[in-house]
Symmetry: C2
Subunit: 231 residues, 2 copies
């Protein structure tokens, strides 16, 4: 049985940063918040509102400095990951908490941030399909899966993978019964109107369009990661 | 072709209220925010932070009073719906905007609020599986489907149905190409770890447990709706 299961309070820390993709965080949050023992911290260097990549702001409820020891450390993704990968405030916080957390986790390009903090070295992990090659630049065994568990690292694919990720994490810690109950309460019985949610089923034309449109930013990110790795 | 498609600015209004279920709103928001013409308003009677049913607060960016004419009116669900179904500030706002909006929409128990405002009278609609019987109390033809479109009313099932709902709405207005592109960017290729997201596939024991636990609040809601209908 998982040792977290019997704790009366489980500290889950979700890191906020400018221009993060809100659903990367709000989807697993909806799952985590239904764990009765969960104390969820929205973390940031200070308590100012943090603007997501689509404008709307979220309010941190705890600073990095005041954060208690976390049982579960979580980082979501978004274009803003580029900046925090080289921001010592974030990287130092992740390194410190990542050492002792029972689970070190991410959804989407949050995995790049964990990797930049050295927290995925030698682990199997996944990320948003567009960034799999970027994650491969690190010492990470990249898997093209929706959710990857390797020892106490748990990483999810892009954005909406956060729902599957959240349910898998709940099942891992608390058992299937709670995960199934949460799944039923959030009516997670998905019926995507199209088959276009993955590079394996999207049209080649659409894939080519998105790759072209994101080429510049992905190239820039590649240069950045190479710079980080060469330090 | 849908008349909204060629507007240079599309006003989408998402109603915030105390104790709403954040994912009901943040899931379709993630889809809507990827429509380049979208101007999204988080609406409330005032600009104070609005606390969701799991604690964290969202900031409105527009008051009901200052809200422009909406093209798409959206209401999510949550336990807080009980209160706003009888709050004239909300009901009057919904009635006024619902008259002229191109689309009147909801996810989860947001449908109960639309119904309380008379906006679903004579329409087919859906809601969270636990509240289908409550929606049936109104003059609504209830369908047990993930997303229901009837003329300009579009309603989704519980919580995570907001993703399917958002993609269906984008396809309806802008065509399948944009919906498929958004689906690929949010990697919506769901892989629920369990078959437990609907009363049709959850275990009878789990269903019985949840029905028992929610019986009191659902009974209270039934009394409330009967009172609203008898006014």
């Amino acid at each position: 049985m998982n040792k977290l299961k019997n704790k009366t309070e489980i500290h889950i820390g979700m890191v906020l940063f400018p221009h993060f993709t809100q659903l990367d965080l709000t989807a697993p949050f909806e799952v985590f918040a239904r764990i009765s023992q969960a104390q969820i911290y929205f973390l940031s260097p200070d308590l100012q509102p943090v603007h997501t990549d689509k404008g709307f702001a979220m309010l941190p409820n705890c600073t990095f400095e005041n954060c208690p020891d976390l049982d579960i450390l979580f980082v979501g993704g978004g274009w803003g990951t580029g900046k925090i990968m080289e921001d010592a405030r974030y990287i130092d916080f992740l390194k410190a908490q990542g050492q002792n957390a029972s689970y070190v986790t991410s959804v989407c390009t949050g995995a790049l941030v964990l990797a930049a903090a050295g927290l995925l070295d030698g682990y199997r992990a996944t990320t948003h399909w567009l960034s799999l090659d970027l994650l491969r630049l690190f010492d990470v065994e990249v898997e093209e899966k929706r959710v990857v568990i390797d020892r106490n690292r748990m990483t999810g694919g892009g954005v909406t993978a956060g729902i599957d990720f959240g349910l898998v994490l709940v099942a891992e810690i608390f058992g299937e019964a709670l995960a199934k109950e949460i799944q039923l309460m959030i009516e997670y019985n998905p019926q995507p109107p199209f088959q276009s949610g993955s590079p394996t089923n999207a049209s080649p034309e659409l894939l080519a369009k998105i790759k072209m449109e994101t080429k510049e930013i992905q190239e820039k990110r590649k240069v950045q990661i190479t710079r980080i790795l060469n330090r």
